[in-house]
Amino acid sequence: MENNLDRVMEEICLDPAVLGCLFADQQGLCIGSKGQASNETSGYITAIANQVAKLEPNSKMPVVTLENENQICMIQKADTITGAIYKKL
């Protein structure tokens, strides 16, 4: 599984606009990170995804996007894994 995840992370980081990506498990523990994303924030990423899951429990999991002037962070939960991608604008 780790090899697959490594390959996916490498593919994501091939995009020059991507600053980094991070994946966390159900408990908020980091299962992989690449680029500038540090594994210290994996708990927050999972907490954000869990909080947003309460909004419309019967709908498909949404994508949470945080934006500032220079960067964008996209967070989505899929089954037990939460992923976050940081991009520059």
């Binding site: 600053l19 980094g20 991070l22 680029g35 500038q36 994303a37 540090s38 210290e40 924030t41 927050y44 907490a47 954000i48 909080q51 947003v52 309460k54 909004l55 419309e56 709908s59 498909k60 949404p62 994508v63 949470v64 996007t65 945080l66 934006e67 500032n68 002037e69 220079n70 960067q71 962070c73 940081y86």
Partner: protein
């Protein structure tokens, strides 16, 4: 309060910094549940992301579902939430 009508808007909520509903309309009329969940989300997301990949607080937070989205902005110590339809791509 004078509010511009945003294209595709199907509801809005204005909250104070404590999360109390100041104004609401459309799908989000008196929607305390959504207000509480999104206020919790802002509290979670504020300045907690990776400082290397996301150097400032966010300007806009979007929760995107398949056919609609919640857009959250902070301004003048108020939280502005708009629920709007999104075009499927």
């Amino acid at each position: 309060m004078d509010r511009p009508n945003i294209q595709g808007q199907i509801g809005y909520l204005t909250l104070n910094s404590e999360g109390a509903v100041l104004a609401s309309e459309g799908d989000l009329k008196n929607d305390e549940k959504t207000a509480g969940i999104l206020h919790g989300l802002i509290t979670l997301a504020h300045n907690r992301l990776d400082p290397k990949a996301f150097d400032k607080g966010f300007k806009r937070l979007t929760v995107t579902y398949e056919d609609h989205a919640y857009v959250v902005c902070l301004s003048n110590r108020k939280i502005h939430i708009v629920k709007r339809q999104v075009q499927a791509t």
